[in-house]
């Protein structure tokens, strides 16, 4: 700003020197022709042509050029704003895609884990069931076997009685020389 004031100062100094020049000029010309910048002869002409040309300029600028430049600048700033919008929108979309991808990945992982667990559980259940069935079968067969063994043993025991009676009868026959009554032998062995 001080620079501007320097300019003003320069202007005033120039005005002073101009005033001296005016005096010189008047002296030179013996007060004849007026000092050109102050010569009123051409004042109307200068005002008239200044107004005409300035109006033409004003009309030209306000109707054609300034709106054109203004719209160029506005268009550019709109375009930049649009591009920035677009970029942020795309970035948002990319982020969404990324997060949905991760979500899906996690889902898939969870699902796979789930399937594994389910499969394992069902397999284990099946195995357990089979084992149980096998156990039952084994028990059943064991029971059958036990029964059979008991029967055989009973039979054997029964046979033992008969064999003992036979043996006793035979011993009696050999030693005693008589054939004992079967019922008596049985009672004696019994």
């Amino acid at each position: 700003m001080t620079y501007l004031f320097d300019m003003f100062g320069y202007g005033f100094a120039a005005a002073a020197s101009a005033a001296e020049t005016v005096a010189d000029y008047k002296g030179d010309q013996d007060g004849g022709a007026a000092f050109p910048p102050f010569d009123p002869t051409y004042f109307p002409s200068q005002i008239f042509w200044l107004l005409v040309t300035f109006f033409v300029l004003y009309f030209m600028l306000s109707r054609i050029f300034l709106p054109r430049i203004g719209s160029m600048i506005e268009e550019r700033s709109n375009r930049i704003a649009d591009d920035l919008d677009m970029a942020s929108r795309l970035q948002l979309q990319a982020e969404q895609a990324q997060s949905s991808y991760e979500q899906e990945l996690a889902d898939a992982r969870a699902k796979a884990h789930n399937i594994g667990a389910t499969t394992r559980a069902s397999v284990e259940a099946e195995i357990a069931k089979d084992v149980e069935a096998a156990d039952v079968e084994a028990d059943r067969q064991q029971a059958g076997a036990d029964a059979r063994i008991a029967t055989i043993r009973n039979q054997a025991l029964k046979n033992i009685d008969k064999v003992a009676a036979d043996v006793a009868a035979e011993i009696v026959e050999k030693i005693g020389g008589f054939t004992p009554n079967t019922a008596t032998v049985k009672t004696a062995v019994g």
Partner: protein, 256 residues
């Protein structure tokens, strides 16, 4: 005594190119009018060429046009506020006309329209006229608050502030027009004088001695020329800036 052809005032003389009369008023087309027409034509050509393509990624010419646009728009926004932008075409036209007229005047043998007080005064009166007409139209009597600032004791206002404000308001067109005119006028006189000294020295002391002596005015001319280009820009800028400040008064007369 200044030699013929070296008269530093001669460059400001007007001569008729085409005699014209509007009733009793002489509105002849002069060399000054020719430069005004040329200035406007050049601005039109510049903007036509630089905005022709309207590219999304601007070229150099388009960038300059857009920068000028933003420069003036920012200036109005910062001094007169957003509602000052209604005067944007006016301020832009004013700035660009004065800038082109000043710069074109720097070309040798080209007439400088802004070196005539009547031209700068007409500009100043356009500005002040706009301020007064718009200020009264928009604010009515409220426009007078310009001379009755808030937050100052009434006694002080009547005795000191209001008279000063009135004087300052009335001197605005004068300071506005004299500042621009004097800068352009003095700059061109200085350039012409120093350039003239070179020729005078050579003709007075011969080619060798005179040539050596002419180095002094030559270096001064060399130094003054860029300064004058700077002045040409700064004065157009100052004119537009003050226009914004004054228009701000018309928009918001209560507070300044």
């Amino acid at each position: 005594m200044i030699a013929a052809g070296l008269d530093p005032i001669a460059q400001f003389e007007l001569h008729k190119i085409q005699e014209l009369k509007l009733g009793p008023i002489d509105i002849s087309f002069t060399n000054s009018s020719l430069m005004m027409v040329f200035t406007v034509a050049l601005i039109g050509l510049w903007l036509l060429l630089s905005t022709r393509k309207a590219a999304l990624v601007p070229g150099r010419a388009q960038s300059i046009a857009e920068m000028s646009y933003e420069f003036i728009a920012d200036m109005i926004r910062s001094t007169a506020g957003k509602d000052g932008l209604r005067f944007f075409p006016f301020v832009f036209s004013l700035f660009i006309f004065i800038l082109f007229a000043n710069l074109l005047g720097m070309i040798p043998f080209f007439f400088t329209t802004t070196s005539h007080i009547i031209v700068t005064f007409t500009f100043a009166m356009m500005v002040i006229g706009l301020v007064v007409v718009y200020g009264v139209w928009k604010n009515g009597f409220g426009f007078l608050k310009l001379f009755w600032p808030a937050g100052v004791p009434a006694v002080l206002k009547i005795l000191l502030v209001t008279p000063l404000e009135i004087i300052s308001f009335l001197s605005r067109p004068i300071s506005l027009s004299v500042r621009l005119w004097a800068n352009m006028f003095a700059g061109h006189i200085l350039l012409k004088l120093f350039a003239g000294f070179m020729i005078m020295m050579v003709s007075a002391f011969g080619v060798f001695k005179g040539g050596l002596a002419a180095l002094i005015p030559f270096s001064l001319t060399l130094a003054l020329t860029p300064l004058e280009f700077l002045v040409a820009f700064v004065q157009a800028y100052v004119f537009a800036l003050l226009t914004c400040v004054y228009l701000s008064d018309a928009l918001h007369p209560g507070h300044h």
